[in-house]
Symmetry: C2
Subunit: 393 residues, 2 copies
C-alpha cells in the first residue's frame, strides 16, 4: 500500500538537492543556464534519443560511462549538436571551469538544447558558472533556464508514503516543438531520495518512457538531444519497487502531458486510444500515426469530427485492420461502427462538442486482437507555422 | 531514337478520345463530374493506394478484374470510401444508368475523390449522366471536374516521334492535400494510342510511379482513393518500349510536379536529392523523411537554411549515416561537409537566397554507399492549416 501526495514546486522539496537558473546572455532576457547540485553523490541513469546524430553532451556522457554524479549543467539556445570533437572539447572546457570554481563537484553532466550545428558560446557559459550559487533552491528559475519555445516551465513533485516510510520524487522538463513518439527535443531531469538499486534505475526509466515520453507527439521529429536523467541520492533509506515505479511513471506522465499541452501553438490535446489491435506494437503504430497525422492534427484544430481522416490514417499505417471491424468514437459518441456509418447531423454535433474541449479521447477499436496503446497528440494551428518558420532567422 | 513534342491541352489530342465535365451540383459552382470516352475499346491498367481501406470504386475495379474499357466516370466532393457494400451497390446503380443512356459503353470504370464516409448523392450523379455529351473534347472541363482543393487543373500531352512513326500520350491529374510518398489522394488518368502490349502496361505504370507519384509529398498521408489509370486504344500501331517508357514517366513526372507545386498552401517546391546512401531504399527513406518533416517544411516556408533540422531528420529516420561523412548543400552552397560546419554568415545568406526561389534542390550526400533517390516536397504555411482545419465543416 502506498499513496502519492502532490507537493508544490519541484526539486527544492528534496533535502539534499539545490538548483537554479542564471542569465548568461544566451537568451535576450530570461534564464538560460541552469544547474542541479546534490550534497550527496547520486546514482545516475539516463536514456537518450534514438537519433543517429547524438549531440556532444550525450556522446560525452556515454564515453565517460557516468554512473555517479552530483552536478548537472544545462544550457538552452544551443544544442551543441553536429559539432564533432570540438563540441566534446567545449564540454571538457566547461567541466574544467566547474571544477575550478566548485571543489565539491563530482563527475559533472552537461545537457544542451537549442539550435543545431553552432559551437557553444564558451565565454558566456563560463561567465554563467561564476554566477552559480550552490545554496539556491529555485526550481522555477531552473525550469525557465532550460526552456526553448516552451511557453511555461514544467515541473512536478510528489511525496510517496509507504508502509515502511516515505520518499520523494521530483522532475523538471522542457519540450514544445519537435516532440515526437520517440521522445524528441525534450529534456527531463528527475531527482529522488528513494533508495532504488542502481541496476534497476535504467530499466525502470525505459519502461516508464514507453507510456509517457514516447507516447506523446507534437510534430513527429526526434531530436539530436533528447535526454531523460534520473538522479537518486538514496537519502530516504526507503525503497518499495511498486511504489517507486508508480511514482516515477506518474512524474514522467505529468511532465509528458505538460509537454504535449505546450506543443508549439497547440490549443488542445487528444488521447488516441487504440484497442483491439493484433498486438500492442500494432496498436502503438496506429496511435502514433494518428497523433502524427497532419490531417488529423488540423482537424483537431478546426474541431472538425472528420472521422474519415482517422479511418484513412489507420488504413494507411500498415497494420492489420478491416473496415467491417473498425469502430471509431469521440469519447462516447460513436460515429462509425463496424461497417455502419452512424455519423448523422446529431452525432456530428455531439462529436463536435467533444472536440471543443481542451482535452478529450478519440477511441478506435480495430476488432482484430487484444493489443492496445494510448498516444497523446496536440493540434496544429497557425501558431505552429509561425513559431517554426521564424525560429532561427 | 525518339523525341517528345509537347502538345497544347491534353486528352483531346488523341483522335479516338472524348472527354469533358458536367455540373452535377456536388460543388457549388464548378464542374464536378467528368468523363473520358473512347470510340475504340481500350486496354486498361491501374495502380491503387496501399491504404487498407480502399474506397468502393477501387474494390469494384478489382473485383470485376477490369482489363478492357472505353468509359471512365469521375466525381469529386465524395470519395465513396468506408461506405461498405452499399458503396459498391451505388456504383452498380450508376453503371446501369450509364448503360441505359449510352449503348456504346463497355465495362465502365468509376473513380471518386472527396469526403470519406458519406454515400454518393446518386440522384445528382444520375442527372449529371443525362448531361454528358460523348462528342465533347474538353479536357479542361474534365480536369476541373476532378479537382478538390486543387487551385488549378493539371494536364499534359506529348506526341512522341520515333523512327517507326509517332504515337501520343496525354494525362490529367488532381492532387493537392494528402499527397504523400505513397501516392496519396491523387487521381491521374493517362491515355495513349501507343500499341503497348497489355501485359507491359501495369509493370510500366508501377516502375514509373516510383520516381514520380511516389516521390512527392504534401503532408505524408495516403488516401483511400489514390488511383492511376492508363488507357490505350493502340490506334497508332506504333510501339517502342524505350520511347513509351520515357514518355510515360515524363507525363507522370510533370503531373506529379504540378501536384506538389499545388500542395495545399504551398509557396515553393524542394527536391531532396539523397546520394551516397547504403542503398536506394535507404536513400528513399531519407528523402521521404525530409520531404515529410514538419520542421523542414516550415523552414522551407520561412526560407530559413536551417541545415540542423535537415541533419537531425536524416539522423532520426533510422538509416545508416555518420556526422563525419554527411554533406549538406542548398544547390551548390555547401553548409556542412563531413564534420565541418561551413555555415558562416556569407553562406547563410547564399543559402537563404537559394531558398527564395520557388524551386530548388537540397542535396545530402551520406558518404556511405551508392544509393540515391530524389523526392519532392512543398513547404507548409498558414494556408495549409486554413485549408485543412476548415475543409469539411
Amino acid at each position: 500500500m502506498f499513496r502519492l501526495i502532490p507537493l508544490k514546486g519541484s526539486i527544492e522539496n528534496l533535502e539534499n538537492f539545490f538548483c537554479g537558473g542564471v542569465k548568461a546572455g544566451l537568451k535576450e532576457q530570461d534564464y538560460d543556464v541552469g544547474f542541479i547540485y546534490s550534497k550527496k553523490i547520486c546514482s545516475v541513469a539516463a536514456i537518450f534519443t534514438e537519433n543517429r546524430f547524438k549531440a556532444a553532451p550525450l556522446i560525452d556522457f556515454e564515453r565517460r560511462g557516468v554512473t555517479k554524479s552530483n552536478f548537472l549543467l544545462v544550457n538552452s539556445k544551443n544544442a551543441n549538436a553536429l559539432t564533432g570533437e570540438e563540441g566534446i572539447e567545449d564540454i571538457q572546457t566547461i567541466y574544467r571551469a566547474l571544477h575550478k570554481k566548485f571543489e565539491h563537484i563530482h563527475e559533472p553532466i552537461m545537457s544542451s538544447t537549442g539550435v543545431i550545428g553552432v559551437r557553444l558560446p564558451l565565454e558566456k557559459i563560463e561567465r554563467a558558472i561564476d554566477g552559480i550559487d550552490l545554496s539556491k533552491r529555485n526550481s522555477l528559475s531552473f525550469a525557465r533556464a532550460i526552456m526553448t519555445t516552451d511557453s511555461y516551465p514544467k515541473m512536478v513533485a510528489f511525496e510517496v508514503i509507504t508502509d515502511n516510510g516515505s520518499f520523494k520524487i521530483a522532475g523538471v522538463a522542457k519540450g514544445a516543438g519537435m516532440i515526437d513518439p520517440s521522445m524528441a527535443t525534450m529534456l527531463a531531469f528527475i531527482v529522488t531520495d528513494a533508495s532504488i538499486e542502481d541496476k534497476e534505475m535504467k530499466p525502470l526509466l525505459k519502461e516508464c518512457a514507453k507510456t509517457t515520453f514516447n507516447a506523446i507527439s507534437v510534430d513527429g521529429d526526434r531530436s539530436t538531444n533528447d535526454t531523460v536523467l534520473l538522479f537518486s541520492d538514496k537519502s530516504s533509506n526507503v525503497y518499495e519497487k511498486e511504489a517507486f515505479r508508480f511514482a516515477l511513471e506518474r512524474v514522467m506522465h505529468e511532465l509528458a502531458l505538460m509537454i504535449v499541452r505546450d506543443g508549439e501553438g497547440a490549443t488542445k490535446v487528444a488521447a488516441f486510444d487504440i484497442t483491439g489491435a493484433k498486438n500492442d506494437l500494432e496498436a502503438q503504430i496506429a496511435a502514433k500515426a494518428l497523433s502524427n497525422s497532419l490531417l488529423v492534427k488540423t482537424a483537431l484544430f478546426g474541431e472538425d469530427p472528420n472521422w474519415g481522416r482517422i479511418a484513412s490514417t489507420i488504413g494507411a499505417c500498415g497494420i492489420e485492420c478491416y473496415p467491417e471491424r473498425l469502430k471509431i468514437s469521440f469519447e462516447d459518441v460513436t460515429v462509425y461502427d463496424r461497417g455502419k456509418i452512424l455519423f448523422d447531423s446529431q452525432r456530428e454535433k455531439a462529436a463536435h462538442n467533444v472536440m471543443k474541449r481542451s482535452e478529450f479521447t478519440i477511441k478506435c477499436d480495430l476488432g482484430v486482437g487484444k493489443g492496445s496503446f494510448r498516444a497523446y497528440g496536440c493540434d496544429l494551428g497557425y501558431d505552429y507555422v509561425k513559431i517554426n518558420a521564424e525560429y532561427r532567422t
